[in-house]
Amino acid sequence: MKTLTKILLAGAVMAISLPGNLAAQRSGVEMWSQTCGNCHRIQPADRYTADQWVTILGQMSVQARLTDEEEASILAFLQSGAKKVAVAEPVRSEGTLVASTDPAFVPDVQPMDGEDVYAKQCVACHGKGGKGDGPAAAAFNPRPVDFTDADLMGSKADEELLEVLKNGRNGMPGFAAILSPEEIDAVLAYVRSLSAEEK
């Protein structure tokens, strides 16, 4: 009994004292898919408004034992696709502005290449191979687009895909507040390459 109690307390102390950046930080969409999905079917971002997500995440961070960084990351993702009835306040994480509804906002982060962006922001719904079969795909109706479908992708102009990437569609959140214009261009080029590989 005493030994078990000590183990529990040691774990708690270790968790409290660990630096938040010890392990690679997962993106908001990864955390949303994996951590929220650990208990229940993940809820689409447009089920609630940006303000409502603040309230929900404040409480769910206890249920899921989220760190401040993890909570901010999920919140930024969910707010980017939230039901559009209110303007959310910017979200801050460790003093760094990571997301905003201000269209002029540019995140203070290093740009990633297209494959990195895809791995961080798109895999959860569109799947590793881009077939629209990610673990979070079940939350969407219609299902996420299959980027390997050459006919489908060939029918879509870059302007249309950029519009979806920036502003979202059919429950998919927009990424204009999360990704820089360079990263959006890079990920567009990457998803284009997925259908090219299938030809």
């Binding site: 009994m1 529990l8 309230t55 409480q59």
Partner: protein, 346 residues
């Protein structure tokens, strides 16, 4: 009469809580959000016995109020309105402080964080079967909420995406008669502990490890306290639990086991009780998920042992609602059952 008093107390408590929410708006508050879940259930029991029962139940219509009071303070309460109003209670109602890195402090009445099913998985729109795990729920009395202090948190660790999580609590504790059924120890009137025994609190917690990219989640839990309802007696109850889950590509396998060491009044006497379940579910399509569960308990004296094999499926009309149909095969003859439910989050 007793129920009316409980309902009044609940109503006053909730009204007070909501008044606090309302008055807090403007202090960077995000205000109050009312959510919850509701269900409609149908059960057929004792199939084949010639004396089967068929009944409907509005098992839950539970409202949850969540209020973000300031950036670091929130409150959360669930009004439990069960069995068409036969049970009205405050399942939990607590205030939380989140201003310390990787540490959340909560005070009030909360669902005790022991294992996974009790705290995280019991709501009917989340639980993958109509019923709670048979037998298991008698060893770890579920849903078990109690009044006290709770600290909780998590942190990333070395491997990519890995996290450790922790919960530790001190609560008033379970209470009941010498050697009694632990499930009956929940929600006992604390005033019965008058006579100098109220300083005997129960302690415990859970330590978990999550490996999301690999789909694993494991944890160990402990609860320890004096359960005797006789102020002159000290009878310890130790619960030890382990839980594990694997989730990948639509497949979810999870299980829990809990063992109880329960002192009895006889010199050196104690009872050992064990319960557990393992279940597997597979999301075949976006809306359709078959599930199978084995559950049961071992009690002192084999006559008290029981087990159940349950299988069925869930149809998901939306991400927050579920229609489930299960067939339950119980120990013994002519006591199988069918259970169906429509459950939705609000």
């Amino acid at each position: 009469m007793k129920r009316n008093v409980g309902a009044r107390v609940t109503a006053v408590a909730v009204l007070a809580l909501f008044t606090v929410f309302a008055s807090a708006r403007g202090l960077r508050a995000q205000g109050l959000l009312l959510t919850g879940y509701a269900d409609f259930q149908a059960d057929v029991t004792n199939i084949g016995s010639g004396n089967s029962d068929f009944f409907f139940d509005n098992h839950h219509f539970n409202l949850i109020g969540v209020g973000q009071l300031t950036e670091n303070i929130f409150a959360n309460a669930e009004i439990e309105y069960e069995h068409s109003g036969d049970e009205i209670n405050l399942e939990y109602g607590y205030i939380g402080y989140t201003g310390i890195k990787n540490l959340k402090i909560l005070a009030g009445k909360f669902i005790v964080p022991f294992g996974r099913f009790n705290k995280d998985l019991h709501p009917t729109w989340i639980n993958k079967m109509v019923d709670r795990p048979h037998g298991f729920k008698n060893i770890l009395p579920q849903t078990y909420s109690d009044v006290g202090l709770w600290v909780s948190g998590g942190a990333p660790v070395g491997m990519d995406g890995a996290r450790i999580t922790y919960d530790a609590f001190v609560v008033n504790g379970l209470m009941g008669p010498n050697g009694g059924d632990i499930r009956g120890f929940r929600g006992v009137d604390r005033e019965k502990r008058a006579g100098g025994r109220d300083d005997n609190k129960a302690v415990g917690g859970r330590l978990g490890l999550e490996l999301p990219p690999e789909g694993f989640d494991i944890g160990g839990s402990i609860y320890f306290g004096n359960y005797s309802d006789d102020p002159a007696e000290k009878l310890d109850l130790l619960l030890l639990g382990a839980d594990a889950a694997f989730r990948k590509n639509g497949l979810e396998i999870r299980g829990e086991v809990v063992t109880a060491q329960q002192d009895t009044a006889e010199a050196g006497g104690h009872l050992t009780k064990t319960g557990g379940y393992v279940q597997a579910a597979y999301l075949v399509t976006r809306n359709f998920e078959p599930v199978i569960r084995f559950s049961g308990r071992e009690m002192p004296g084999s006559a008290m042992d029981n087990s159940r094999v349950a299988f069925g499926f869930t149809f998901y009309p939306s991400a927050g609602s579920a229609v489930r149909l299960d067939y339950l095969i119980n120990d013994g003859a002519d006591n199988d059952g069918i259970a169906a439910i429509f459950s939705t989050s609000l």
